[in-house]
Protein backbone atom coordinates (compact mmCIF):
# COMPACT_ATOMS: atom_id res chain seq x y z
CA UNK A 1 0.00 0.00 0.00
CA UNK A 2 2.81 2.38 0.81
CA UNK A 3 4.52 1.38 -2.39
CA UNK A 4 2.06 3.06 -4.68
CA UNK A 5 2.44 6.38 -2.94
CA UNK A 6 6.09 6.23 -3.88
CA UNK A 7 5.22 5.26 -7.43
CA UNK A 8 2.71 8.03 -7.91
CA UNK A 9 4.73 10.62 -6.08
CA UNK A 10 7.21 11.39 -8.84
CA UNK A 11 4.47 11.23 -11.45
CA UNK A 12 2.43 13.81 -9.58
CA UNK A 13 5.47 15.99 -9.19
CA UNK A 14 6.21 16.01 -12.87
CA UNK A 15 2.58 16.42 -13.86
CA UNK A 16 2.12 19.41 -11.61
CA UNK A 17 3.58 22.14 -13.85
CA UNK A 18 1.43 20.92 -16.73
CA UNK A 19 -1.74 21.32 -14.67
CA UNK A 20 -0.82 24.70 -13.32
CA UNK A 21 -4.28 26.09 -14.00
CA UNK A 22 -5.95 23.00 -12.66
CA UNK A 23 -5.81 23.32 -8.86
CA UNK A 24 -7.74 26.59 -8.46
CA UNK A 25 -10.58 25.31 -10.63
CA UNK A 26 -10.95 21.82 -9.24
CA UNK A 27 -11.61 22.62 -5.57
CA UNK A 28 -14.21 25.18 -6.56
CA UNK A 29 -16.21 22.70 -8.58
CA UNK A 30 -15.88 20.26 -5.69
CA UNK A 31 -17.12 23.00 -3.44
CA UNK A 32 -20.41 23.43 -5.29
CA UNK A 33 -20.97 19.71 -5.02
CA UNK A 34 -20.19 19.86 -1.32
CA UNK A 35 -22.62 22.73 -0.84
CA UNK A 36 -25.44 20.98 -2.63
CA UNK A 37 -24.80 17.76 -0.77
CA UNK A 38 -24.48 19.39 2.65
CA UNK A 39 -27.59 21.51 2.10
CA UNK A 40 -29.59 18.44 1.16
CA UNK A 41 -28.37 16.51 4.19
CA UNK A 42 -28.97 19.50 6.47
CA UNK A 43 -32.51 19.84 5.22
CA UNK A 44 -33.14 16.15 5.77
CA UNK A 45 -31.73 16.44 9.29
CA UNK A 46 -33.85 19.46 10.11
CA UNK A 47 -37.04 18.13 8.53
CA UNK A 48 -38.37 16.17 11.54
CA UNK A 49 -37.81 19.14 13.83
CA UNK A 50 -39.44 21.60 11.48
CA UNK A 51 -42.29 19.21 11.03
CA UNK A 52 -42.87 18.97 14.77
CA UNK A 53 -42.97 22.76 14.97
CA UNK A 54 -45.35 22.90 12.00
CA UNK A 55 -47.65 20.29 13.50
CA UNK A 56 -47.70 22.05 16.85
CA UNK A 57 -49.02 25.24 15.24
CA UNK A 58 -52.06 23.61 13.65
CA UNK A 59 -55.35 22.44 15.17
CA UNK A 60 -55.88 18.72 15.52
CA UNK A 61 -59.01 18.56 13.36
CA UNK A 62 -57.11 19.93 10.40
CA UNK A 63 -54.15 17.56 10.49
CA UNK A 64 -56.38 14.61 11.31
CA UNK A 65 -58.27 15.25 8.11
CA UNK A 66 -55.48 16.19 5.73
CA UNK A 67 -52.39 14.63 7.30
CA UNK A 68 -49.33 16.51 8.53
CA UNK A 69 -48.01 17.24 5.06
CA UNK A 70 -50.67 19.69 3.87
CA UNK A 71 -51.27 23.41 3.57
CA UNK A 72 -52.29 25.17 6.78
CA UNK A 73 -55.63 26.94 7.13
CA UNK A 74 -55.07 28.15 10.65
CA UNK A 75 -51.86 28.67 12.64
CA UNK A 76 -51.67 29.53 16.32
CA UNK A 77 -49.52 29.19 19.41
CA UNK A 78 -52.44 27.89 21.49
CA UNK A 79 -50.93 24.45 21.85
CA UNK A 80 -47.78 25.83 23.43
CA UNK A 81 -49.72 27.58 26.16
CA UNK A 82 -51.79 24.46 26.69
CA UNK A 83 -48.74 22.18 26.72
CA UNK A 84 -46.93 24.38 29.22
CA UNK A 85 -49.79 24.68 31.69
CA UNK A 86 -51.30 21.22 31.33
CA UNK A 87 -48.03 19.41 31.95
CA UNK A 88 -46.72 21.77 34.65
CA UNK A 89 -43.50 22.08 32.73
CA UNK A 90 -41.98 24.94 34.74
CA UNK A 91 -41.78 22.84 37.89
CA UNK A 92 -40.31 19.85 36.08
CA UNK A 93 -37.78 22.05 34.39
CA UNK A 94 -36.55 23.27 37.78
CA UNK A 95 -36.29 19.66 38.94
CA UNK A 96 -34.10 18.89 35.95
CA UNK A 97 -31.83 21.83 36.71
CA UNK A 98 -31.52 20.76 40.36
CA UNK A 99 -30.24 17.42 39.10
CA UNK A 100 -28.24 18.38 36.02
CA UNK A 101 -26.24 21.41 37.14
CA UNK A 102 -24.53 19.89 40.21
CA UNK A 103 -24.10 16.59 38.40
CA UNK A 104 -22.27 18.16 35.45
CA UNK A 105 -20.00 20.29 37.64
CA UNK A 106 -19.03 17.47 40.00
CA UNK A 107 -18.57 15.01 37.13
CA UNK A 108 -16.25 17.31 35.23
CA UNK A 109 -14.22 18.23 38.29
CA UNK A 110 -13.67 14.65 39.44
CA UNK A 111 -13.10 13.38 35.92
CA UNK A 112 -10.60 16.10 35.12
CA UNK A 113 -8.51 15.22 38.13
CA UNK A 114 -8.58 11.49 37.44
CA UNK A 115 -7.67 12.14 33.81
CA UNK A 116 -4.82 14.37 34.93
CA UNK A 117 -3.54 11.73 37.34
CA UNK A 118 -3.77 9.06 34.67
CA UNK A 119 -2.25 11.03 31.82
CA UNK A 120 0.23 13.33 33.50
CA UNK A 121 1.24 12.12 36.97
CA UNK A 122 3.59 9.21 37.24
CA UNK A 123 1.55 6.94 39.46
CA UNK A 124 1.58 3.19 39.42
CA UNK A 125 -1.38 1.47 37.82
CA UNK A 126 -2.55 4.52 35.90
CA UNK A 127 -3.52 2.38 32.92
CA UNK A 128 -5.57 0.05 35.11
CA UNK A 129 -7.27 3.10 36.58
CA UNK A 130 -8.15 4.41 33.13
CA UNK A 131 -9.60 1.03 32.20
CA UNK A 132 -11.53 0.84 35.45
CA UNK A 133 -13.29 4.13 34.77
CA UNK A 134 -13.74 3.84 31.03
CA UNK A 135 -15.13 0.33 31.14
CA UNK A 136 -17.42 1.35 33.99
CA UNK A 137 -19.13 3.99 31.91
CA UNK A 138 -19.65 1.61 29.04
CA UNK A 139 -21.69 -0.92 30.98
CA UNK A 140 -25.37 -1.01 30.06
CA UNK A 141 -27.42 0.84 32.71
CA UNK A 142 -29.91 -2.01 32.97
CA UNK A 143 -27.23 -4.17 34.56
CA UNK A 144 -26.98 -1.80 37.52
CA UNK A 145 -30.61 -1.00 38.15
CA UNK A 146 -31.79 -3.66 40.62
CA UNK A 147 -28.86 -3.66 43.08
CA UNK A 148 -28.81 0.15 43.14
CA UNK A 149 -32.53 0.27 43.82
CA UNK A 150 -32.18 -2.05 46.80
CA UNK A 151 -29.11 -0.17 48.03
CA UNK A 152 -30.74 3.27 47.89
CA UNK A 153 -33.84 2.03 49.65
CA UNK A 154 -31.66 1.02 52.58
CA UNK A 155 -29.66 4.22 52.98
CA UNK A 156 -31.28 6.67 55.39
CA UNK A 157 -30.89 10.40 55.07
CA UNK A 158 -31.86 13.14 57.55
CA UNK A 159 -35.06 14.94 56.56
CA UNK A 160 -33.28 18.17 55.61
CA UNK A 161 -31.52 16.25 52.85
CA UNK A 162 -34.46 14.23 51.64
CA UNK A 163 -38.09 14.38 52.67
CA UNK A 164 -38.44 10.70 51.93
CA UNK A 165 -35.84 9.99 54.65
CA UNK A 166 -34.04 7.58 52.33
CA UNK A 167 -31.67 8.04 49.44
CA UNK A 168 -34.39 6.50 47.32
CA UNK A 169 -36.85 9.08 46.02
CA UNK A 170 -34.43 11.99 46.44
CA UNK A 171 -32.54 14.17 43.98
CA UNK A 172 -29.32 12.97 45.62
CA UNK A 173 -29.82 9.49 44.24
CA UNK A 174 -30.18 10.69 40.66
CA UNK A 175 -27.28 13.12 40.99
CA UNK A 176 -24.96 10.49 42.48
CA UNK A 177 -25.85 7.88 39.89
CA UNK A 178 -25.36 10.34 37.05
CA UNK A 179 -21.99 11.43 38.42
CA UNK A 180 -20.79 7.87 39.06
CA UNK A 181 -21.89 6.74 35.66
CA UNK A 182 -20.69 9.69 33.59
CA UNK A 183 -17.27 10.17 35.23
CA UNK A 184 -15.86 7.27 33.23
CA UNK A 185 -16.64 8.80 29.87
CA UNK A 186 -15.20 12.20 30.83
CA UNK A 187 -12.05 10.57 32.19
CA UNK A 188 -11.56 8.77 28.91
CA UNK A 189 -12.02 11.87 26.74
CA UNK A 190 -10.02 14.20 28.97
CA UNK A 191 -7.14 11.76 29.43
CA UNK A 192 -6.90 11.44 25.65
CA UNK A 193 -6.99 15.21 25.33
CA UNK A 194 -4.39 15.81 28.04
CA UNK A 195 -1.96 13.44 26.34
CA UNK A 196 -1.93 15.77 23.33
CA UNK A 197 -0.86 18.75 25.46
CA UNK A 198 2.85 19.57 25.36
CA UNK A 199 4.65 17.98 28.32
CA UNK A 200 7.23 20.75 28.52
CA UNK A 201 4.93 23.22 30.30
CA UNK A 202 4.25 20.75 33.06
CA UNK A 203 7.91 19.79 33.36
CA UNK A 204 8.84 23.45 33.71
CA UNK A 205 6.26 23.81 36.49
CA UNK A 206 7.62 20.75 38.28
CA UNK A 207 11.13 22.17 38.11
CA UNK A 208 9.72 25.34 39.66
CA UNK A 209 8.42 23.25 42.52
CA UNK A 210 4.71 23.14 41.72
CA UNK A 211 2.77 20.52 43.64
CA UNK A 212 0.26 18.11 42.13
CA UNK A 213 -2.69 20.43 42.85
CA UNK A 214 -1.01 23.43 41.18
CA UNK A 215 -0.02 21.31 38.20
CA UNK A 216 -3.62 20.26 37.84
CA UNK A 217 -5.63 23.37 38.71
CA UNK A 218 -3.33 26.13 37.47
CA UNK A 219 -1.54 24.57 34.55
CA UNK A 220 -3.34 21.61 33.00
CA UNK A 221 -7.00 22.50 33.53
CA UNK A 222 -6.86 25.93 31.82
CA UNK A 223 -5.35 24.26 28.76
CA UNK A 224 -8.24 21.79 28.73
CA UNK A 225 -10.90 24.45 28.53
CA UNK A 226 -12.03 23.55 25.01
CA UNK A 227 -12.40 19.89 25.89
CA UNK A 228 -14.14 20.68 29.17
CA UNK A 229 -16.55 23.06 27.43
CA UNK A 230 -17.40 20.45 24.84
CA UNK A 231 -17.91 17.81 27.52
CA UNK A 232 -20.05 20.17 29.58
CA UNK A 233 -22.49 20.68 26.73
CA UNK A 234 -22.58 16.96 26.02
CA UNK A 235 -23.05 15.95 29.64
CA UNK A 236 -25.69 18.58 30.26
CA UNK A 237 -27.76 17.39 27.33
CA UNK A 238 -27.31 13.75 28.34
CA UNK A 239 -28.38 14.28 31.92
CA UNK A 240 -31.18 16.58 30.81
CA UNK A 241 -32.45 13.97 28.39
CA UNK A 242 -32.10 11.00 30.69
CA UNK A 243 -35.23 9.56 32.12
CA UNK A 244 -34.30 6.01 33.00
CA UNK A 245 -32.59 6.88 36.29
CA UNK A 246 -35.24 9.33 37.43
CA UNK A 247 -37.99 6.89 36.54
CA UNK A 248 -36.42 4.19 38.69
CA UNK A 249 -35.10 6.16 41.66
CA UNK A 250 -37.84 8.74 42.09
CA UNK A 251 -41.39 7.84 43.02
CA UNK A 252 -42.83 11.22 44.01
CA UNK A 253 -44.30 12.64 40.77
CA UNK A 254 -43.49 16.18 41.92
CA UNK A 255 -39.78 15.42 41.74
CA UNK A 256 -39.69 13.96 38.25
CA UNK A 257 -37.53 15.68 35.61
CA UNK A 258 -38.83 17.36 32.49
CA UNK A 259 -38.49 14.42 30.10
CA UNK A 260 -41.18 12.54 31.95
CA UNK A 261 -43.56 15.53 31.89
CA UNK A 262 -44.43 14.64 28.30
CA UNK A 263 -46.34 11.67 29.65
CA UNK A 264 -48.78 14.09 31.28
CA UNK A 265 -49.81 15.16 27.81
CA UNK A 266 -50.78 11.69 26.71
CA UNK A 267 -54.46 11.19 27.40
CA UNK A 268 -55.71 7.90 28.68
CA UNK A 269 -57.94 7.21 25.70
CA UNK A 270 -57.07 9.89 23.21
CA UNK A 271 -53.78 11.63 22.51
CA UNK A 272 -53.71 14.96 20.71
CA UNK A 273 -50.50 14.56 18.73
CA UNK A 274 -50.28 18.25 17.95
CA UNK A 275 -50.34 19.06 21.64
CA UNK A 276 -47.65 16.45 22.15
CA UNK A 277 -45.65 18.05 19.32
CA UNK A 278 -45.82 21.41 21.10
CA UNK A 279 -44.69 19.71 24.32
CA UNK A 280 -41.80 18.00 22.54
CA UNK A 281 -40.63 21.27 21.04
CA UNK A 282 -40.75 22.89 24.49
CA UNK A 283 -38.79 20.02 26.03
CA UNK A 284 -36.21 20.11 23.25
CA UNK A 285 -35.83 23.89 23.32
CA UNK A 286 -33.48 24.27 26.35
CA UNK A 287 -30.96 21.76 25.05
CA UNK A 288 -31.00 23.32 21.61
CA UNK A 289 -30.52 26.78 23.14
CA UNK A 290 -27.67 25.57 25.36
CA UNK A 291 -26.01 24.02 22.36
CA UNK A 292 -26.41 27.10 20.17
CA UNK A 293 -25.16 29.42 22.92
CA UNK A 294 -22.19 27.33 24.01
CA UNK A 295 -21.34 26.46 20.47
CA UNK A 296 -19.19 29.55 20.02
CA UNK A 297 -17.16 28.38 22.98
CA UNK A 298 -17.11 24.95 21.51
CA UNK A 299 -15.85 25.94 18.07
CA UNK A 300 -13.36 28.46 19.45
CA UNK A 301 -11.92 25.57 21.43
CA UNK A 302 -11.73 23.34 18.40
CA UNK A 303 -9.90 25.92 16.30
CA UNK A 304 -7.61 26.73 19.22
CA UNK A 305 -6.38 23.16 19.02
CA UNK A 306 -5.46 23.53 15.38
CA UNK A 307 -3.29 26.62 15.77
CA UNK A 308 -1.25 24.88 18.42
CA UNK A 309 0.66 22.65 15.98
Amino acid sequence: MTADIRVTAPAGESARPARQSGPPRRPRRGRYGAHIFLSAVSLAFLAPLLLAVYASLRPYEETAQHGYFSFPKKLSFDYYRAAYTESGMGKYFMNTLIIAVPAVIVTLFLAAFVAFAVARVNIRGSLALLMFFTAGNLLPPQVLVTPLYVLFLNIDLPWWMSDSMTLYDSYWAVIIVNVGFQVGFCVFVLANFMRTLPKEILEAAIVDGAGVWTQFWRITLPLCRPAVAALATLEFTWIYNDFLWALIFISNPDKLPITSSLNNLRGQFFTDYNLLAAGSVLVALPTILVFLLLQRHFIAGLTLGSSKG
Binding site: M1, T8, A9, G12, A34, F37, L38, S39, S42, F45, L46, P48, L49, L51, A52, T63, G67, Y68, F69, S70, L110, F113, V121, I123, L129, F133, T134, A135, G136, L138, L139, P140, P141, Q142, V143, L144, V145, T146, P147, V177, V179, G180, V183, N192, T196, V207, W213, A230, N241, I248, L262, Y273, A277, V283, A284, T287, F291, I299, S306, G309
Partner: protein, 304 residues
Protein backbone atom coordinates in the same frame (compact mmCIF):
# COMPACT_ATOMS: atom_id res chain seq x y z
CA UNK B 1 21.51 26.30 37.54
CA UNK B 2 22.28 22.88 36.02
CA UNK B 3 23.43 21.79 39.44
CA UNK B 4 20.14 22.83 40.96
CA UNK B 5 18.00 21.00 38.44
CA UNK B 6 20.11 17.92 38.86
CA UNK B 7 19.51 17.99 42.58
CA UNK B 8 15.79 18.51 42.10
CA UNK B 9 15.65 15.64 39.66
CA UNK B 10 17.47 13.45 42.13
CA UNK B 11 15.03 14.32 44.85
CA UNK B 12 12.11 13.64 42.55
CA UNK B 13 13.33 10.14 41.94
CA UNK B 14 13.57 9.26 45.60
CA UNK B 15 10.54 11.13 46.96
CA UNK B 16 8.42 12.31 44.10
CA UNK B 17 5.41 13.52 46.06
CA UNK B 18 5.27 15.76 49.10
CA UNK B 19 2.84 14.86 51.83
CA UNK B 20 0.39 17.42 50.45
CA UNK B 21 0.63 15.86 46.99
CA UNK B 22 -0.14 12.46 48.39
CA UNK B 23 -3.13 13.83 50.27
CA UNK B 24 -4.49 15.57 47.17
CA UNK B 25 -4.02 12.44 45.09
CA UNK B 26 -5.53 10.25 47.77
CA UNK B 27 -8.68 12.30 48.27
CA UNK B 28 -9.34 13.32 44.68
CA UNK B 29 -8.66 9.86 43.29
CA UNK B 30 -10.28 8.12 46.25
CA UNK B 31 -13.68 9.81 45.90
CA UNK B 32 -14.26 8.98 42.24
CA UNK B 33 -12.91 5.45 42.67
CA UNK B 34 -15.19 4.81 45.61
CA UNK B 35 -18.12 6.32 43.74
CA UNK B 36 -17.44 4.16 40.72
CA UNK B 37 -17.26 1.03 42.86
CA UNK B 38 -20.51 1.81 44.67
CA UNK B 39 -22.48 2.98 41.64
CA UNK B 40 -21.09 0.87 38.81
CA UNK B 41 -18.87 -2.08 39.58
CA UNK B 42 -20.48 -3.22 42.81
CA UNK B 43 -23.99 -3.35 41.34
CA UNK B 44 -22.63 -5.01 38.19
CA UNK B 45 -21.07 -7.78 40.29
CA UNK B 46 -24.25 -8.03 42.35
CA UNK B 47 -26.19 -8.54 39.11
CA UNK B 48 -23.85 -11.37 38.17
CA UNK B 49 -24.57 -12.92 41.55
CA UNK B 50 -28.32 -12.48 41.20
CA UNK B 51 -28.26 -14.15 37.80
CA UNK B 52 -27.63 -17.47 39.53
CA UNK B 53 -30.69 -17.10 41.74
CA UNK B 54 -34.42 -17.03 41.35
CA UNK B 55 -35.61 -13.92 43.10
CA UNK B 56 -38.83 -11.96 42.69
CA UNK B 57 -37.58 -8.91 44.56
CA UNK B 58 -39.49 -9.54 47.79
CA UNK B 59 -39.16 -13.14 48.95
CA UNK B 60 -36.07 -15.19 49.71
CA UNK B 61 -33.16 -15.37 47.33
CA UNK B 62 -32.81 -18.94 46.15
CA UNK B 63 -29.66 -20.27 44.49
CA UNK B 64 -30.48 -22.06 41.24
CA UNK B 65 -27.06 -22.33 39.59
CA UNK B 66 -27.05 -22.07 35.81
CA UNK B 67 -30.77 -22.71 35.34
CA UNK B 68 -31.51 -19.15 34.25
CA UNK B 69 -28.93 -19.34 31.49
CA UNK B 70 -30.18 -22.70 30.30
CA UNK B 71 -33.75 -21.37 30.12
CA UNK B 72 -32.56 -18.28 28.35
CA UNK B 73 -30.76 -20.07 25.54
CA UNK B 74 -33.20 -22.92 25.08
CA UNK B 75 -36.69 -21.82 26.07
CA UNK B 76 -36.94 -18.04 25.86
CA UNK B 77 -38.24 -17.27 22.37
CA UNK B 78 -37.35 -13.57 22.39
CA UNK B 79 -33.68 -14.12 23.23
CA UNK B 80 -32.11 -15.00 19.88
CA UNK B 81 -34.07 -12.40 17.88
CA UNK B 82 -32.91 -9.79 20.40
CA UNK B 83 -29.28 -10.86 19.98
CA UNK B 84 -29.69 -10.69 16.21
CA UNK B 85 -31.26 -7.22 16.41
CA UNK B 86 -28.47 -5.91 18.62
CA UNK B 87 -25.81 -7.23 16.22
CA UNK B 88 -27.65 -5.71 13.27
CA UNK B 89 -27.80 -2.43 15.16
CA UNK B 90 -24.02 -2.48 15.69
CA UNK B 91 -23.45 -3.25 12.01
CA UNK B 92 -25.77 -0.50 10.85
CA UNK B 93 -24.29 2.20 13.08
CA UNK B 94 -20.75 1.02 12.36
CA UNK B 95 -21.02 0.59 8.60
CA UNK B 96 -23.50 3.32 7.70
CA UNK B 97 -23.88 6.03 10.34
CA UNK B 98 -20.26 6.29 11.50
CA UNK B 99 -18.63 6.47 8.04
CA UNK B 100 -21.30 8.96 7.02
CA UNK B 101 -20.46 11.12 10.03
CA UNK B 102 -16.77 10.98 9.13
CA UNK B 103 -17.59 11.91 5.54
CA UNK B 104 -19.65 14.91 6.67
CA UNK B 105 -16.84 15.98 9.00
CA UNK B 106 -14.35 15.90 6.13
CA UNK B 107 -16.67 17.94 3.91
CA UNK B 108 -17.35 20.53 6.61
CA UNK B 109 -13.67 20.68 7.54
CA UNK B 110 -12.63 21.72 4.03
CA UNK B 111 -13.28 25.31 5.00
CA UNK B 112 -16.21 25.94 2.67
CA UNK B 113 -18.55 28.83 3.42
CA UNK B 114 -21.42 28.34 5.86
CA UNK B 115 -19.51 25.43 7.39
CA UNK B 116 -20.59 26.57 10.84
CA UNK B 117 -24.21 26.53 9.81
CA UNK B 118 -23.96 22.99 8.44
CA UNK B 119 -22.11 21.91 11.54
CA UNK B 120 -24.81 23.28 13.83
CA UNK B 121 -27.66 21.77 11.88
CA UNK B 122 -26.08 18.34 11.60
CA UNK B 123 -25.25 18.26 15.27
CA UNK B 124 -28.68 19.43 16.37
CA UNK B 125 -30.35 15.99 16.65
CA UNK B 126 -27.70 14.91 19.17
CA UNK B 127 -29.07 17.26 21.79
CA UNK B 128 -32.61 15.90 21.50
CA UNK B 129 -33.91 13.42 24.02
CA UNK B 130 -34.71 9.99 22.67
CA UNK B 131 -38.26 10.39 23.90
CA UNK B 132 -38.59 13.34 21.53
CA UNK B 133 -36.89 11.41 18.73
CA UNK B 134 -39.28 8.52 19.21
CA UNK B 135 -42.21 10.92 19.07
CA UNK B 136 -40.92 12.51 15.88
CA UNK B 137 -40.60 9.07 14.33
CA UNK B 138 -44.29 8.57 15.00
CA UNK B 139 -45.12 11.92 13.46
CA UNK B 140 -43.16 11.09 10.30
CA UNK B 141 -43.93 7.42 9.97
CA UNK B 142 -47.43 7.10 11.37
CA UNK B 143 -49.66 4.86 9.27
CA UNK B 144 -52.65 7.14 8.70
CA UNK B 145 -51.51 10.74 9.03
CA UNK B 146 -47.72 10.29 8.95
CA UNK B 147 -45.85 12.51 6.53
CA UNK B 148 -44.19 9.73 4.57
CA UNK B 149 -47.44 7.93 3.94
CA UNK B 150 -49.23 11.16 3.06
CA UNK B 151 -46.60 11.76 0.40
CA UNK B 152 -46.73 8.19 -0.88
CA UNK B 153 -50.53 8.52 -0.91
CA UNK B 154 -51.30 4.82 -0.98
CA UNK B 155 -54.72 4.82 0.64
CA UNK B 156 -55.56 1.18 0.03
CA UNK B 157 -52.46 -0.46 1.41
CA UNK B 158 -50.49 2.02 3.52
CA UNK B 159 -47.11 0.82 4.76
CA UNK B 160 -47.07 0.31 8.50
CA UNK B 161 -43.54 1.63 9.02
CA UNK B 162 -43.44 1.19 12.77
CA UNK B 163 -45.73 -1.83 13.10
CA UNK B 164 -44.52 -4.17 10.35
CA UNK B 165 -41.91 -6.36 12.01
CA UNK B 166 -39.88 -6.57 8.76
CA UNK B 167 -39.42 -2.83 8.47
CA UNK B 168 -39.71 -1.25 11.89
CA UNK B 169 -36.23 -2.23 13.08
CA UNK B 170 -34.71 -0.49 10.06
CA UNK B 171 -36.75 2.62 10.74
CA UNK B 172 -35.54 2.62 14.34
CA UNK B 173 -31.94 2.22 13.22
CA UNK B 174 -32.39 5.14 10.82
CA UNK B 175 -33.78 7.28 13.63
CA UNK B 176 -30.87 6.27 15.87
CA UNK B 177 -28.45 7.11 13.05
CA UNK B 178 -29.99 10.54 12.78
CA UNK B 179 -28.50 11.29 16.19
CA UNK B 180 -25.40 9.14 15.90
CA UNK B 181 -24.13 10.73 12.66
CA UNK B 182 -24.01 14.23 14.11
CA UNK B 183 -22.22 13.02 17.20
CA UNK B 184 -19.58 11.18 15.18
CA UNK B 185 -19.19 14.19 12.93
CA UNK B 186 -18.48 16.58 15.79
CA UNK B 187 -15.91 14.20 17.28
CA UNK B 188 -14.12 13.85 13.96
CA UNK B 189 -14.29 17.58 13.32
CA UNK B 190 -12.50 18.19 16.59
CA UNK B 191 -9.89 15.62 15.57
CA UNK B 192 -9.48 16.98 12.04
CA UNK B 193 -8.89 20.51 13.31
CA UNK B 194 -6.01 19.27 15.40
CA UNK B 195 -4.26 17.52 12.51
CA UNK B 196 -1.11 19.45 11.74
CA UNK B 197 -1.67 21.17 8.36
CA UNK B 198 2.06 20.77 7.62
CA UNK B 199 1.46 17.02 7.32
CA UNK B 200 -1.11 17.56 4.59
CA UNK B 201 1.10 20.06 2.83
CA UNK B 202 3.99 17.64 2.90
CA UNK B 203 1.78 14.95 1.42
CA UNK B 204 0.57 17.35 -1.28
CA UNK B 205 4.16 18.26 -2.15
CA UNK B 206 4.93 14.56 -2.45
CA UNK B 207 2.12 14.42 -5.01
CA UNK B 208 -0.51 12.60 -3.01
CA UNK B 209 -4.03 13.33 -4.17
CA UNK B 210 -6.78 14.27 -1.78
CA UNK B 211 -7.98 10.75 -1.17
CA UNK B 212 -4.48 9.41 -0.58
CA UNK B 213 -3.73 12.24 1.81
CA UNK B 214 -6.87 11.47 3.73
CA UNK B 215 -6.46 7.70 4.04
CA UNK B 216 -2.67 7.60 4.48
CA UNK B 217 -1.97 10.77 6.41
CA UNK B 218 -5.04 12.20 8.08
CA UNK B 219 -6.87 9.07 9.17
CA UNK B 220 -3.88 7.45 10.92
CA UNK B 221 -3.22 10.62 12.89
CA UNK B 222 -6.86 10.52 14.01
CA UNK B 223 -6.23 7.30 15.88
CA UNK B 224 -7.37 8.54 19.30
CA UNK B 225 -10.62 9.79 17.78
CA UNK B 226 -11.09 6.53 15.91
CA UNK B 227 -10.87 4.63 19.16
CA UNK B 228 -13.41 6.88 20.87
CA UNK B 229 -15.81 6.73 17.94
CA UNK B 230 -15.48 2.95 17.75
CA UNK B 231 -16.29 2.51 21.41
CA UNK B 232 -19.21 4.91 21.26
CA UNK B 233 -20.67 3.23 18.19
CA UNK B 234 -20.67 -0.25 19.69
CA UNK B 235 -21.87 0.85 23.10
CA UNK B 236 -24.67 3.01 21.73
CA UNK B 237 -25.83 0.02 19.72
CA UNK B 238 -25.77 -2.31 22.72
CA UNK B 239 -27.49 0.23 24.93
CA UNK B 240 -30.22 1.19 22.48
CA UNK B 241 -33.37 1.21 24.53
CA UNK B 242 -35.30 4.47 24.95
CA UNK B 243 -36.09 4.96 21.30
CA UNK B 244 -37.54 1.49 20.86
CA UNK B 245 -39.33 1.67 24.18
CA UNK B 246 -40.89 5.00 23.25
CA UNK B 247 -42.35 3.60 20.03
CA UNK B 248 -43.89 0.27 21.09
CA UNK B 249 -42.19 -0.88 24.31
CA UNK B 250 -39.82 -3.01 22.24
CA UNK B 251 -42.20 -5.66 20.93
CA UNK B 252 -43.14 -7.05 17.57
CA UNK B 253 -39.81 -7.02 15.77
CA UNK B 254 -38.12 -4.46 18.01
CA UNK B 255 -36.85 -6.84 20.69
CA UNK B 256 -33.47 -5.84 22.08
CA UNK B 257 -31.50 -7.28 24.97
CA UNK B 258 -31.92 -4.09 27.00
CA UNK B 259 -35.70 -4.30 26.56
CA UNK B 260 -35.81 -7.93 27.67
CA UNK B 261 -33.88 -7.05 30.83
CA UNK B 262 -36.24 -4.22 31.70
CA UNK B 263 -39.30 -6.35 30.97
CA UNK B 264 -38.13 -9.08 33.32
CA UNK B 265 -36.88 -6.90 36.15
CA UNK B 266 -39.40 -4.07 36.21
CA UNK B 267 -42.28 -5.86 34.51
CA UNK B 268 -45.12 -7.52 36.37
CA UNK B 269 -43.43 -10.91 36.55
CA UNK B 270 -40.46 -9.36 38.38
CA UNK B 271 -38.12 -12.21 37.51
CA UNK B 272 -35.02 -10.47 38.78
CA UNK B 273 -32.79 -13.54 38.62
CA UNK B 274 -33.73 -14.26 35.04
CA UNK B 275 -33.48 -10.60 34.01
CA UNK B 276 -30.04 -10.44 35.59
CA UNK B 277 -28.96 -13.42 33.50
CA UNK B 278 -29.84 -11.48 30.33
CA UNK B 279 -28.04 -8.48 31.80
CA UNK B 280 -24.95 -10.62 32.31
CA UNK B 281 -25.05 -11.71 28.66
CA UNK B 282 -25.20 -8.06 27.61
CA UNK B 283 -22.45 -7.30 30.09
CA UNK B 284 -20.30 -10.05 28.61
CA UNK B 285 -20.74 -8.83 25.05
CA UNK B 286 -20.07 -5.22 26.09
CA UNK B 287 -16.95 -6.20 28.02
CA UNK B 288 -15.72 -8.19 25.03
CA UNK B 289 -15.81 -5.09 22.86
CA UNK B 290 -14.57 -2.80 25.62
CA UNK B 291 -11.51 -4.96 26.30
CA UNK B 292 -10.71 -5.23 22.59
CA UNK B 293 -10.76 -1.46 22.24
CA UNK B 294 -8.75 -0.84 25.37
CA UNK B 295 -6.07 -3.31 24.26
CA UNK B 296 -5.99 -1.52 20.91
CA UNK B 297 -5.67 1.79 22.71
CA UNK B 298 -2.90 0.40 24.89
CA UNK B 299 -0.96 -0.83 21.89
CA UNK B 300 -1.35 2.57 20.24
CA UNK B 301 -0.06 4.33 23.31
CA UNK B 302 2.93 2.02 23.49
CA UNK B 303 3.83 2.55 19.84
CA UNK B 304 4.10 6.24 20.51
Amino acid sequence: MPQKTARRAGRRATRRFTRRDTAVLGVLLGIPILLDIVIVWGPALASVGLSFTSWDGIGDIKWVGGDNYENLVQDYPAFWPAVRHNLLWIAFLGLVATPFGLFLAVLVDRGIRFSRFYQSVLYMPVVLSLAVVGFMAQLLLGTDQGVVNTILDDRNDPVDWLGDSDINLWMMMLAASWRHTGYVMILYLAGLKSVDPALKEAAAIDGANERQTFFRVTLPTLRPVNVIVGVITVIEALRAFDIVYAVNKGRNGLELLSVLITDNIIGEASRIGFGSAIAVVLLGVSLGFIVTFLVQELRGAREK
